[in-house]
Subunit: 292 residues, 2 copies
């Protein structure tokens, strides 16, 4: 394995891992400093952060901590949740997203991941909720441009359509992004959420051609579906996703950014963070990196 | 409520209910004779049957029983499960489907519902499995034509893609059906499985224009997802499906066949069959029939 030197620190990073990022949700029981240290000690180049632990540690302190670690921040999770109709709740959601954009810029992350939100309480109007996602993007696009941050719309698996994300396919996310400049609005390709889609390769190619792949996230689709369906994500190789097929499509589409592993899984969370990162790196090297 | 007379029996059927069918899975703990009697006693016109209880009661006896009840058989569940590669298991699956086609004809049902099957054990090759669904249809289409039975491909919600059905969208089901005559290969529109799809109305219109809507099934998408995700189906009105939107689309597409309610749900199964049918009829009258 060839090695290269990371300029900021002089530490060595395996060349396979220069685009590899651990999303801190994968080791969610580690504090922010512990997560940063664990990822840096594993010789990785990048980390994906979440707003809540950043807020807890302090935004400026978090930005300094990560900068001094030599890690890049691949993305910030997350904004969105703006499917409610006009009113105080919607205004609060838009304001919250403006703050999230600022935080993303402060952390030096290229992308803010957006989870659209589900159907408003008691509503069955998917078309209306989906239209309001587009309206929210229109309100936020100037802030994103000014901050140099890409709003990364994450289509979620259709099993979350009612309660978490009315954006269910990559094609739909791209339709929502299309009216806006590619540097301001892109999409997340998350294997767990899109692997089932018969159009996934075609839509990845479309996203690449439009310069809109803002993040590539890899994790597996485990069965049985966990009692809390959010926790069905697994280490690459433990489930049913064909990482070669999707990774080749993402590479062929010209994506050159970081590749994030984000796993919500009780068993992974119960593992020592350093061990969980080690397993994740092994799986990435075997199942993802060869096809990038 | 206007009433009309059912010719075969002289019993009265409410005009709202002349296209309404209870799939026997909704009252799965009733024996076949009990299920037929319960549905007929509720004044309904049609019942959807399953192969296993029909086999248990005897095919000829089942056909006679239903005929004498005055009910139509709206569909037979189910064929399919033919995603395995060539070999003895695939041959057995094709043979089984041939038997199912014959049974459908014997029962006088217009459609045999097909659930494609998931990924073969250890495989992650969705494209290959999907192609083999097309191959199976090509093998079965002459039998279907000869028997006067429509093979009704049922796209299943993408949460079942790995373990039950690699056909995940209506668009994909229509792509699979397209090479074959519409009288031989159609699709099932099941609200639970397709309501999330941003393209659902467009694909229902496409299905109708091609004369390929072989069955319309209504049931709700309940949350939380049940521990056994197959049992997340609910009475119309209990979950998040917009029945008006989808029913209007199905009606506008020209569908004039039976409307089946098929609910897999432990609580519904624990209800007295006659009571479960009564609730189902009420929900159908309120939430589905007005938009047909």
């Amino acid at each position: 394995m060839t090695l290269e030197t990371r300029a900021s620190e002089g530490r060595e990073v395996a060349a396979t891992d220069t685009r590899f990022s651990i999303n801190q949700a994968t080791i969610k029981h580690a504090s922010l400093p512990d997560a940063v240290r664990t990822v840096a000690d594993a010789g990785l180049a990048s980390i994906g952060l979440w707003r809540e632990p950043v807020a807890e540690f302090g935004l400026a302190a978090s930005a300094r901590l990560v900068r001094e670690s030599g890690l890049r921040v691949s993305s910030l999770c997350r904004g969105g949740f703006f499917t409610v109709p006009e009113g105080p709740a919607r205004r609060a959601a838009i304001d919250e997203n403006r703050r999230a954009i600022e935080e993303t810029a402060t952390l030096g992350a290229p992308a803010l991941v957006l989870v659209a939100g589900g159907l408003p309480e008691g509503s069955r109007d998917l078309a209306g909720a989906r239209a309001r996602v587009g309206d929210a993007l229109a309100e936020l696009v100037d802030d994103a441009l000014a901050a140099g941050v890409t709003l990364a719309i994450e289509p979620l698996h259709p099993m979350y359509v009612a309660d978490r994300a009315v954006v269910s396919t990559l094609g739909q996310a791209l339709d929502l992004a299309e009216p806006f400049p590619a540097e301001a609005v892109g999409v997340v390709v998350d294997t767990f959420h899109v692997f089932w889609d018969p159009a996934v390769e075609q839509q990845i190619a479309r996203a690449g051609a439009a310069g809109r792949i803002a993040s590539y996230q890899v994790c597996d689709w485990n069965l049985p579906i966990a009692a809390d369906p959010l926790l069905s994500r697994g280490y690459p190789g433990d489930g049913h996703v064909d990482f070669e097929r999707i990774t080749r499509a993402v590479a062929a589409a010209g994506y050159e950014g970081d590749v994030e592993v984000e796993i919500f899984n009780q068993q992974v969370w119960d593992t020592d963070p350093a061990a969980a990162v080690r397993i994740t790196v092994e799986r990435y090297r075997e199942l993802v990196h060869p096809f990038l």
